[in-house]
C-alpha cells in the first residue's frame, strides 16, 4: 500500500533525475539526437530542443520516445494545449504505455479538469496496476475532486484556500524498454522519478511561531523539516491560547467593529455611493449564483444608481464571531421609489487587515 502522505518527498529528487538521464542515454542508442535533446532540455534551451525533436520525429513519425520528449518540451514551454495533443495521440497509438496517460493527467489537473485527469490516471493504472506515481497522482486528484464535491455540497469557495495540487510529471518513457510481460517492478519506479510541476503551496506559513515555542534549539534548520500538518494545527493553537485572557473585551469591541462595518455598508448603499458600497465586499466575495464579480458589480451599480430616494437601515443585529469570520444576522429595512421591504438577512464578514469585509450575503 502506498503511504498515506499525499506529497512525495521533494528532497531526493535531484539525484534521481541525474541518474535518469545517464541511464536514458544508454537505453536508446537508436539515435544520438535523443540524449542531445535531453541535454538541451536540461539546460533550459527549450526552443532548440523543440526544433531538434521535430526534425527527429519527422524522420520517424511513429517514434514514441521522440514524441514523448516533444510533449515534455511543450509542457515546459507552457504550451499545454499542444502538449495535451501530443500525449493524447501517444495514448491512442500506444495505449499500453502508462506514462503518456500520467502526463496527460498532470496537464489536465493544471487546468483544473480533474475529471479528465482522473480518467487518464485510471487508464495508466489499468495498464500498469502497480504504477506508484500514477497512484499517488490519482490520490491527489481524488482528494481534489472530493474537495470540489464538498464545495458544491456546502457552498464553500475553497479555490483560494486550498493549495494547488502537486501532481508528478513523468520525465521518461521506461515501459518501452521493458519487455512485454515484464511487470514494472518496485525498483523500477524510482527511475521514472518525478519533478514537481506545480508551484509550491503559496500559503507558506511563517516559521516565527514555532521558533518562539522552541527557543532551546534556535540553530536547528527550521522550515523544511517541520511536518506541515502539525504546523498548521499548532499555529492557531498557540494563538488561541495567547488571546484567551483578553477575549471578552476583545470580542466585544470586535463585534462593535463589525456592526459599524455593517452600518457603513448600509449607509453607503442608501446614499448611493456605489464605490463605497462595493468597497465593503471582499475580493473573494461569493457572488449570488456564482456570477463573475464584474457582472455582479455592474448589476449592483445599475440597481443602486437608479433615480429616486433610497433608504436602507439595519436592525436586530446579531453578530456571531468565529476567528477571522463573523456571521451577522439582521433585519434590513429597504425602501426605494418602487419597493419597500423588510427582510431577514445574513452576511458573513471576514477580517481583512483592520477592516471587516463581506464574504457572503444572503436573504434569510
Amino acid at each position: 500500500m502506498r503511504p498515506t502522505s499525499l506529497t512525495p518527498s521533494l528532497a531526493r529528487l535531484p539525484a534521481l533525475i541525474l541518474g535518469l538521464f545517464l541511464s536514458a542515454s544508454v537505453a536508446f542508442a537508436s539515435a544520438d539526437t535523443l540524449p542531445e535533446i535531453q541535454h538541451l532540455m536540461k539546460q533550459g534551451q527549450m526552443p532548440q530542443a523543440l526544433e531538434k525533436v521535430d526534425s527527429y520525429i519527422s524522420g520517424r513519425p511513429k517514434d514514441a520516445q521522440g514524441r514523448f520528449l516533444k510533449g515534455l518540451i511543450l509542457t515546459e514551454m507552457g504550451r499545454p494545449a499542444e502538449a495535451i495533443a501530443v500525449f493524447t495521440k501517444l495514448t491512442e497509438d500506444y495505449p499500453e504505455l502508462p506514462e503518456p496517460y500520467n502526463n496527460l493527467a498532470v496537464l489536465y489537473a493544471q487546468q483544473k479538469q480533474y475529471d479528465k485527469a482522473r480518467t487518464a490516471l485510471e487508464m495508466a493504472i489499468r495498464t500498469h496496476p502497480s504504477y506508484s506515481i500514477a497512484h499517488e497522482n490519482l490520490g491527489d486528484v481524488y482528494a481534489k475532486l472530493a474537495s470540489q464535491a464538498y464545495d458544491k455540497a456546502l457552498q464553500l469557495d475553497s479555490s483560494n484556500s486550498v493549495t494547488q495540487t502537486k501532481l508528478s510529471l513523468i520525465r521518461e518513457l521506461i515501459s518501452t524498454s521493458a519487455k512485454p510481460g515484464v511487470k514494472p517492478s518496485a525498483t523500477a519506479h524510482p527511475v521514472a522519478e518525478a519533478v514537481k510541476m506545480a508551484v509550491v503551496d503559496p500559503a507558506k506559513p511563517a516559521a516565527t511561531p514555532s521558533a518562539a515555542v522552541a527557543p532551546v534549539a534556535p540553530q536547528v534548520k527550521p522550515v523544511e523539516k517541520l511536518p506541515e500538518p502539525a504546523k498548521t494545527e499548532k499555529a492557531p493553537d498557540t494563538k488561541a491560547a495567547s488571546t484567551t485572557l483578553a477575549k471578552p473585551a476583545g470580542t466585544e469591541s470586535t463585534e462593535g467593529e463589525i456592526t459599524k462595518a455593517l452600518q457603513n455598508w448600509a449607509s453607503a448603499w442608501a446614499r448611493k455611493d456605489v464605490k463605497g458600497y462595493l468597497a465593503h465586499y471582499a475580493s473573494d466575495f461569493q457572488t449570488p449564483g456564482g456570477v463573475p464579480r464584474k457582472t455582479w458589480e455592474a448589476e449592483r451599480t445599475q440597481r443602486i444608481d437608479k433615480p429616486g430616494k433610497l433608504q436602507v437601515s439595519v436592525e436586530d443585529v446579531k453578530v456571531s464571531l468565529a476567528g477571522d469570520k463573523a456571521t451577522v444576522k439582521f433585519r434590513q429595512h429597504y425602501s426605494s421609489a418602487s419597493l419597500k421591504s423588510s427582510t431577514g438577512k445574513t452576511v458573513v464578514f471576514v477580517r481583512s487587515g483592520s477592516k471587516w469585509l463581506i464574504l457572503q450575503e444572503r436573504v434569510g
Binding site: 498515506t4 499525499l6 490519482l138 490520490g139 491527489d140 481524488y142 482528494a143 475532486l145 472530493a146 474537495s147 470540489q148 464535491a149 464538498y150 464545495d151 458544491k152 455540497a153 456546502l154 457552498q155 464553500l156 475553497s158 484556500s161 449564483g289 456564482g290 431577514g344 436573504v363 434569510g364
Partner: protein, 398 residues
C-alpha cells in the same frame, strides 16, 4: 480497513433502520419519484463495502439532480476515501459544522422516510376524517419526518398518491407570533397562486400562500402572516429540513407536481408535527361516531327544543360576536316564532386538527328552511372533545 471505517461512519450517521421495503410488492402505491430510492441504494452499497458501485450510483444521481448538495457530499466522501482514511460523514476540511449537520439531517430524514414508507399506504392520517366530494386531493405534512403526503379523494376515503421531502421553519413548529420562524400547525388551504414574475429566484417554481392564521388560530390569539408552500432557489435541489422562516418548501419538481392538484380555497393543507396514523377500521369508527354526533345536532335543531339543541354547545362556545349566553338568548327568541324547521347538510367535510387539542373542523353547505325564513350558507364549525363527548366551540359562515 479505510473502507470499513467509511461504511461505519456513514451508517452511524443514518441510524440504519430495518431492511429497505419491498418495492416489487407495492408497485402502484409506492411512488419512485425523487432521489430516495437511489440514495437508499447508495447507502446499502456502502454498507456492503461496494464503494465503487456507490460512487458510480452517486454520480448518476448527480446527473439527474446536478444541484443535490447531499449527493455532492456523499461523492466527496467516496472520493476522499480513495486517497485517505475518513472518519465521518462529510469530511470536508474547515467546513462550517452547521452546514454539515444540515446535510446529515437531510440524509437521515430522506432515508427514514423511505424506509418507513409502508405506513403511508396501509394507514390513514387521522386528520382526513372526511373530504367533501369537490375536494379532489388533500395534503398532509409531517414536519418531524420532513415529509409531505398527497392523498386523492376516493369517494370520501383518502387514497395515498405520493410523498415528498419538505423543509419547514428554522425554529420548528407551533407558530404563534409574527417572525418566530416557526411553521404553523393546523388545518389550512391554499388561498392563491402567486405569479412567478413577482417572485424572486428564492421561491423557485412557484408560491402558494395558505390561510394562516385561520379562525381557530385567531381564536387562540396567534398572529403572523405570509406562510406559503413554495419552491427552491435554482442553485440547490433542496434545502435542509429546518431552514425556512415558517414556510413549507419543496423541490421545484415536487412543487410542480403538487401544484397540479391544488384547488384554491378548497384543497386541505394539514400541517402536523407528527402524523397520527389510523387503521382503516379505526378511521371508519371515528368518522361514524362524529357523523352521528353532527346528525344529532341537526335533528335537535329541527326539534325546536332549545335544551336539546344547546347541549351540543361547549361552555366556552363563541361565534364571531356572541358568547354562549347571548347565542342561547337569541335562539330562544327566534324559536318562539317557529312552527317548523328543516335543516339539510351536504358537501360535508371533517378534518381533525393536529396536535394536543382534540378539535375537529366540520364544514358543510347548510340548507335551512322554516315557516318564516329560508337560508342557504356554507358553515364551518369547530367541534371539541369536552366531558367525554364532542361539542361545538366555535361556528360561523366560512
Amino acid at each position: 480497513m479505510r473502507r470499513a471505517a467509511l461504511a461505519i461512519a456513514l451508517i452511524a450517521a443514518c441510524a440504519a433502520g430495518p431492511a429497505v421495503p419491498d418495492i416489487a410488492r407495492h408497485p402502484t402505491t409506492l411512488s419512485d419519484s425523487g432521489p430516495e430510492p437511489q440514495l437508499s441504494r447508495i447507502f446499502s452499497e456502502i454498507e456492503k463495502n461496494n464503494l465503487d458501485n456507490a460512487l458510480a450510483q452517486t454520480e448518476s444521481l448527480l446527473q439527474q439532480y446536478p444541484n443535490f448538495r447531499l449527493a455532492h457530499l456523499i461523492k466527496g466522501d467516496l472520493l476522499l476515501a480513495r486517497s485517505m482514511p475518513i472518519t465521518t460523514f462529510g469530511n470536508a476540511l474547515n467546513a462550517p459544522q452547521e452546514k454539515l449537520s444540515d446535510l446529515r439531517e437531510e440524509a437521515i430524514a430522506r432515508l427514514k422516510a423511505y424506509r418507513d414508507k409502508k405506513a403511508s399506504s396501509n394507514y390513514v392520517p387521522r386528520y382526513l376524517l372526511q373530504m367533501e366530494p369537490d375536494q379532489k386531493y388533500a395534503i398532509v405534512v409531517d414536519t418531524q419526518k420532513s415529509r409531505l403526503y398527497l392523498y386523492q379523494n376516493d369517494h370520501g376515503r383518502p387514497r395515498f398518491v405520493a410523498d415528498y421531502y419538505v423543509t419547514h421553519g428554522k425554529l420548528g413548529t407551533d407558530k404563534t407570533r409574527e417572525g418566530d420562524k416557526k411553521t404553523p400547525i393546523g388545518i389550512y388551504h391554499v388561498t392563491s397562486s402567486l405569479p412567478l414574475k413577482k417572485l424572486g429566484d428564492f421561491y423557485g417554481s412557484g408560491a402558494f400562500p395558505i390561510n394562516y392564521p385561520n379562525e381557530w388560530d385567531k381564536h387562540q390569539g396567534r398572529n403572523g402572516h405570509g406562510i406559503w408552500l413554495h419552491g427552491t432557489p435554482s442553485d440547490t435541489f433542496s434545502r435542509p429540513p429546518k431552514a425556512s422562516d415558517g414556510c413549507v418548501v419543496l423541490a421545484n419538481t415536487d412543487l410542480d407536481a403538487i401544484a397540479k392538484t391544488l384547488q384554491l380555497g378548497l384543497t386541505p393543507v394539514i400541517i402536523s408535527n407528527s402524523i397520527e396514523w389510523l387503521s382503516f377500521d379505526d378511521w371508519q369508527s371515528e368518522r361514524s361516531a362524529l357523523n352521528k354526533k353532527i346528525d344529532d345536532w341537526r335533528q335537535d335543531w329541527e326539534s325546536r327544543d332549545l335544551n336539546r339543541f344547546l347541549k351540543h354547545y361547549s361552555r366556552k362556545f363563541q361565534t364571531k360576536d356572541q358568547t354562549l349566553e347571548q347565542f342561547a338568548k337569541q335562539k330562544s327568541l327566534v324559536n318562539a316564532s317557529k312552527e317548523w324547521i328543516k335543516v339539510k347538510l351536504s358537501n360535508q367535510s371533517m378534518f381533525r386538527n393536529p396536535g394536543q387539542e382534540e378539535v375537529v373542523v366540520v364544514t358543510f353547505d347548510q340548507d335551512y328552511r322554516s315557516n318564516n325564513l329560508n337560508n342557504q350558507m356554507k358553515k364551518r364549525q369547530y367541534w371539541i372533545r369536552e366531558d367525554g363527548t364532542w361539542k361545538i366551540i366555535f361556528e360561523g359562515s366560512s
